[in-house]
């Protein structure tokens, strides 16, 4: 695989580590489908998902998924007679794929923002990509497919001049004209052969999201968020028709080969076919359940595949001349259906900061374990809020990761700004680890997960004495990216041991990961500051003299349990009046000073009695409820 990195890469940006919790094979689209392409020769349908996966269906059966993007795939183009596929994604890359075998051949990182649209000139095997960075790049496909790891440079011509983000792009098969639609609310035309800017067509009132150009390059149809479809005569630079058949934004367009009819779809969930010679003739092809994102003809051009912001793809019969003449109604059921899966729409991290409660588009509630990177429980269609309440535990663990649902799957980010991925120290017992070296052994969630993610990577030698407590499935994608920016590298956890992958990882894995996943790295515990004050009932003769004057300001690890604090009180604060303490290594279970034992020390905070097993950060978060220093009171009770 070749990676093209034009320009100098700014390595100063902090690099984050992410993983996507998914199944070994994601057969169904999890979220909306942004683009469709048909290979008529093999009867294969390619669909570009918002879940970052391009799926291939042969005779409407799932063949394989093409996974390498890390964000929405916005557009795809099938070229070279179906041998190659070009894809554009919101991960800012354009990828070149071997369509038949389904692997990514190269990645183009020229765009600086989401790549929204592609256009293809079949006769010249040229593809153009455009996006929110306002630029259009023109690629020679034969050059792209010839790229190798050693020969990884490619020249591109850019079409400059667009003043705003481009959302749609179209080119005629001969590659003599290219049209872009943008938030400028205007169409811009270029000659791809000379890269010369030709003209600008004004008329739309809003963003232009869909475009088709006629074969000869003299006509163009545009669909806009203003709800209108406009037919333009490019020679006379005029809008010759305004078609108002939709009640909301027009997002998708398709024109028949002869440019006699236009098929449009949009936010109003309708697909409508309109006669361009007589625009009053229009027939509603279908009404979907969700806004229409893309359409493509079937091999015989008698029906269309329709994709929406929902995950299912349906095939609908197109009206014929007879329908137009006799004004017949269209069937209300699709010819065919490729069912989609459910996207995760809601996710809440539970208090233990390890389990995540999710709800998907079909209202199914499930529980995921971040440390094992898998779903641990399906709860079915239960009430999400109630489930969240039910699973509330009075335990406070600091945040150590971020989640995002943009792909419809759970993505866990480590090392993002403001969240310290190594802040969560928990006792091994609480983490469910049985055979720990010592009873009070502490483990760090962030460290555990990173160790699991890089388990197979040979770049880091883990201490052989320490066993791995958790492991992550090998199919889990591991993504290294700039915080809030572009993806640097994506690899499956199980593939990290490969030579190429190993070398690439050595280049990209940030130092903050390497220094921390080594077992012998310094443990940096989070400290909490607190005051200990005797309750008024504590007889003053029990207190050491100097303790009467002012409260002690103490510092401890935030996971210290109240029992430990009680031990400290017994040991250090309750004395026989002499200043010196009789050694700190007294066994807390045996009766100590003045014959009291630990169980007789009762700690309170905000007048609430504290459970001895509760740790200080939980007390601070749930009982003290303030960012100021915690104050605990102690008294002696008789048992």
């Amino acid at each position: 695989m070749a990676t093209i990195k034009p320009g100098s890469q700014n390595t100063r940006k902090k690099v984050q580590v992410s993983m996507v919790i998914c199944e070994a094979e994601e057969k169904r689209h999890r979220s909306g489908v942004n683009a469709l392409q048909l290979d008529p020769a093999l009867d294969r349908l390619y669909s570009a998902g918002r879940d970052s996966i391009i799926r291939v269906y042969e005779h409407e059966r799932f063949l394989h998924g093409m996974e390498h993007h890390t964000d929405w795939v916005n557009d795809i183009v099938l070229c070279c007679g179906g041998r190659h596929l070009i894809s554009a994604s919101s991960d800012t890359t354009v990828k070149v794929w071997n369509a038949h075998k389904g692997f990514c051949m190269s990645t183009l990182r020229t765009h600086k923002d989401y790549v929204k649209a592609l256009a293809y000139a079949k006769d010249r095997e040229q593809v153009a990509s455009a996006g929110l960075d306002k630029s259009i790049y023109l690629w020679d496909i034969n050059t792209l497919t010839a790229l190798t790891a050693s020969n990884n440079t490619v020249t591109t011509s850019s079409l400059m001049g667009s003043k705003e983000s481009i959302y749609s792009l179209a080119m005629n098969p001969s590659g003599s004209i290219i049209v872009s639609g943008s938030t400028e609310k205007a169409l811009r035309l270029w000659d791809p052969r000379t890269c010369a800017k030709l003209l600008k067509l004004k008329g739309h009132q809003d963003n232009v999201k869909a475009l088709v150009v006629s074969r000869d390059g003299t006509q163009c149809v545009s669909g806009s968020s203003d709800g209108s479809i406009r037919l333009w005569n490019l020679g006379s630079q005029r809008c010759v028709q305004t078609i108002l058949v939709h009640t909301d934004s027009v997002w998708a367009l398709l024109a028949t080969e002869s440019f006699s009819h236009v098929i449009s779809g949009g936010r109003d969930k309708k697909v409508i076919m309109t006669d361009l010679k007589n625009t009053t003739h229009s027939i509603t092809v279908c009404v979907e359940d969700a806004p229409i994102l893309k359409m493509c003809f079937t091999a015989d051009h008698l029906a269309v595949w329709v994709s929406t912001s929902d995950s299912s793809i349906r095939c609908w019969k197109l009206p014929t001349d007879k329908h137009f003449k006799e004004d017949l109604r269209m069937p209300t059921t699709p010819i065919s259906l490729i069912p989609g899966g459910a996207a995760i729409r809601q996710a809440v991290v539970l208090n233990d900061k390890r389990h995540i409660l999710t709800k998907d588009a079909h209202d199914n509630v499930a529980i995921y374990d971040v440390l094992r990177a898998k779903k641990v429980e399906d709860l079915g269609q239960v009430n999400f809020q109630e489930e969240e309440k039910k699973r509330f535990k009075m335990v406070y663990v600091p945040n150590w990761f971020n989640i995002d649902l943009k792909t419809g799957m759970l993505t866990i980010h480590l090392g993002q700004d403001e969240v310290d991925c190594f802040s969560a120290w928990v006792s091994a017992r609480d983490a469910g680890i049985r055979d720990t070296p010592e009873p009070d052994h502490k483990v760090n969630y962030g460290k555990l997960l990173l160790q699991a993610l890089f388990e197979h990577w040979r770049g880091v030698e883990t201490d052989p004495e320490n066993r791995l407590y958790f492991s992550v499935p090998k199919h889990i994608p591991l993504i290294l990216s700039e915080v809030g920016g572009r993806t640097l590298y994506r690899v499956l956890v199980g593939d990290t041991s490969g030579d190429t992958e190993n070398a690439l990882l050595s280049e990209t894995v940030p130092s903050w990961v390497i220094s921390n996943i080594e077992e012998n790295s310094q443990n940096k515990f989070i400290k909490v500051q607190f005051y200990l004050q005797p309750h008024s009932s504590v007889p003053s003769h029990l207190l050491k003299q100097d303790r009467l004057k002012k409260p002690d300001r103490l510092v401890a690890n935030d996971f210290i349990q109240c029992r430990k604090v009680a031990e400290h009180i017994l040991e250090k604060l309750l004395g026989d009046g002499t200043a010196s303490s009789p050694g700190g290594d007294a066994d807390p279970s045996t009766p100590s000073n003045n014959g009291y034992n630990v169980d007789q020390i009762e700690l309170t905070c905000n007048e609430q009695v504290l459970d001895p097993s509760m740790d200080l950060r939980t007390v601070k978060h749930f009982i003290w409820k303030s960012s100021s220093d915690l104050t605990l009171y102690y008294k002696i009770i008789n048992k």
Binding site: D113, E164, S165
Partner: protein, 641 residues
């Protein structure tokens, strides 16, 4: 210039404080009115004489020490305070509403104290409040009830609001006495500093910050009052269940009317004899009683009436549309003032564009959230491009535009002196007005009522001057439902009086107001009852001083202004309030002051616009009188522009 001048006003400076001068002024004015009304042909001649005199006097450097209103002295870098105080004082409806807030506060706190104290029987208590015997309740008593024997501790916030009212009362008294001694608003400044530490020290402060702080303060006070009423619903019930109220009502009202008339005379005498200095002024005995004797629902409506929210607060609407899924989210936020960014206006813009468009474009904005500033769309669960519109669902009755003259740069806060026109009338740019087609008239319009100018190169070293429309705002006090005794004025009679007003030209109405003598003005003007609070803390412009300026207006410049066809009237007058120096200026002079002066560092900073709702559309609740008057004034303004 001419010999005649000496005959008109002899030795003016010597008479500044005497009654003789007062009479002279009155004579002149009467003569002037007479001339104008009956023998228009002679008017120019007279004006020339008067103008000649005035122009001469000014050129001689004998600057008038006569201020048309009470003045505030600078206590060392307190021009920021003074300019805001002048502005608030002349902001339409402000004084009147503040007065009632203080009155309501006193009523509520005294009742709460009574309820807590329970020193006497319930019935007697109420009787003493609602009955005629309560006439002695002066504003002093009400305030002292709130401060000294208060069981409920008073917040610093409330103290500031009360001190503000006290200051306005003092200024009112000074005006009645026609005193020209500048007053030091020490007590208020003290209270402000105690309540908010940022105003501590003798440094120059941002007038805008103080304005927002004071408004916030009053709003908070209103909220406290509302809370007290809500927490003690019995405050409303007690009066409702009292059977004696109805039977006593008419009598008590009549009695109070007579009594207060008598009291008025007394009050004036007292004022003249200079006995009352600080806030001790009898006027609003009726305030408490009228509220008490009315029914419970009215109290509920009126007590804690949050006039700051009503008059100064607008609502911005932030409409964000994700460019991916195109779903729209709206967020509403209340605001006091609108920051107006200052961008250089090309000469072309200035000439061809409507000035209102400059402000509309600066305030109603559309922004694209893109690049590294993308919008987290809740529906797409990701960062997408979005368009964000900022528009105004509601613009306040008194709209404050804060010109962003101070920008923070790496080298500290810098002042932008770029010229931005200050129109006397401004088209409304609220959402519904923006939807109106260009050829149709908008629902609301605005007219300039106050301006705070900032003079100087930096915020720390500069000086503030306030310009206010010279008006008593008597229209604010008419038809006041919180003051007029119930029963004496039926709905039909008030309607009738309104109709009378409709036929009155604003000019003659204004003159009749001038006729009402300082301190002696009755609460009835042309048969219209005035809220008595006008005699507590209302503005009393010394008409003579204003008239002198009007009469001496230099004619020679008149031709320069196409709109200026006749002499300025009292409605064309503005007051330039520069600490202890307050002088009346004509609109023409004011416009010159606002005009573009190259390299000048004296720039308008805060612009106050009063809302005008067109008559043919729905007239909002509140003060229809005021609306009528303002609309008339507006048509005049419209002609000028």
């Amino acid at each position: 210039m001419t010999i005649l001048e000496n005959d008109v006003i002899p030795t003016r400076n010597k008479l500044s404080l005497s009654k003789a001068k007062y009479k002279t002024g009155e004579q002149i004015k009467r003569k002037y009115i007479f001339e104008e009304d009956s023998i228009p042909a002679k008017k120019p001649a007279l004006n020339e004489m008067l103008n000649g005199y005035r122009g001469d006097q000014r050129s001689n450097g004998e600057a008038s020490h006569d201020a048309p209103v009470a003045t505030l002295s600078n206590m060392g870098n307190t021009c920021f305070l003074n300019s805001v105080l002048y502005t608030l004082r002349f902001a339409p409806t402000f004084l009147h509403n503040l007065h009632h807030l203080i009155g309501d506060l006193a009523v509520v706190s005294s009742k709460l104290n009574q309820n807590k104290a329970k020193t006497s029987s319930l019935g007697r208590n109420i009787g003493s409040i609602t009955g005629p015997s309560s006439r002695s309740t002066s504003s002093k008593d009400l305030l002292s009830l709130g401060s000294s024997n208060d069981i409920i501790p008073k917040s610093k916030v409330q103290v500031v609001t009360e001190k503000l009212h006290e200051l306005f009362m003092t200024m009112h008294n000074l005006e009645i006495k026609e005193s020209n001694d500048p007053y030091q608003p020490v007590a208020l400044l003290q209270a402000v500093r105690e309540a908010n530490s940022i105003f501590e020290g003798n440094n120059q402060q941002d007038a805008h910050e103080l304005l927002v702080y004071l408004l916030d303060n009053i709003r908070e006070t209103c909220d406290v009052l509302t809370q007290q009423v809500q927490q003690n619903p019995e405050l409303l019930h007690e009066t409702e269940t009292l059977p004696t109220v109805n039977s006593n009502k008419i009598w008590s009202v009549r009695n109070s009317w007579k009594k207060s008339l008598k009291k008025k005379d007394k009050a004036t005498k007292e004022a003249i004899s200079e006995e009352q200095v600080n806030g001790a002024h009898t006027a609003d005995g009726e305030d408490s009683t009228s509220i008490d004797s009315s029914n419970g629902s009215l109290i509920k409506r009126k007590l804690g009436y949050n006039f700051v929210a009503e008059d100064f607060e607008g609502i911005t609407l932030r409409r964000t549309k994700c460019l991916e899924c195109e779903s729209v989210t709206e967020r509403k936020e209340p605001f006091y003032d609108i920051p107006v960014p200052i961008s250089p206006i090309s000469q072309k813009d200035n000439e061809e564009d409507n000035v209102s468009d400059i402000f509309r474009r600066a305030c109603v904005t559309t922004e694209k959230l893109c690049d590294s500033n993308k919008y987290l769309c809740e529906k797409c669960e990701r960062y997408n491009e979005a368009s964000r519109e900022v528009l105004f669902e509601k613009l306040p009755n008194i709209m404050v535009l804060q010109l962003k003259r101070f920008t923070t740069t790496t080298s500290g806060v810098q002042k932008v002196n770029t010229y931005l026109p200050t129109p006397l009338a401004l088209e409304c740019f609220c959402e519904s007005c923006c939807k109106v087609e260009d050829n149709q008239s908008r629902i609301h319009r605005y007219k300039l009522c106050c301006v705070i100018m900032h003079l100087g190169g930096t915020m720390a070293s500069g000086h503030y001057i306030a310009y206010v429309k010279a008006s008593d705002h008597l229209e604010d006090y008419t038809d006041c439902s919180r003051d007029l005794p119930k029963g004496s004025l039926s709905a039909s009679s008030s309607e009738k009086s309104l109709n009378i007003l409709k036929f009155l030209k604003p000019r003659s109405f204004g003159n009749s107001l001038i006729d009402g003598r300082n301190g002696l003005s009755s609460r009835s003007v042309n048969g219209i009852r005035m809220c008595k609070s006008v005699d507590c803390c209302g503005v009393k412009i010394n008409k003579n001083v204003v008239e002198n300026v009007i009469n001496s207006f230099p004619r020679k410049n008149a031709q320069d202004y196409k709109w200026h066809q006749s002499n300025p009237s009292s409605e064309d007058m503005w007051l330039e309030c520069d600490d202890e120096n307050v002088r009346a200026i004509t609109t023409q002079e004011f416009v010159e002051e606002l005009a573009n002066k190259p390299n000048s560092t004296s720039t308008p900073y805060l612009l106050f616009y009063a809302k005008i709702t067109d008559q043919d559309r729905c007239v909002p609740l509140g003060l229809p009188m005021a609306e009528l008057q303002r609309t008339n004034i507006f048509t005049k303004l419209d002609q000028w522009l």
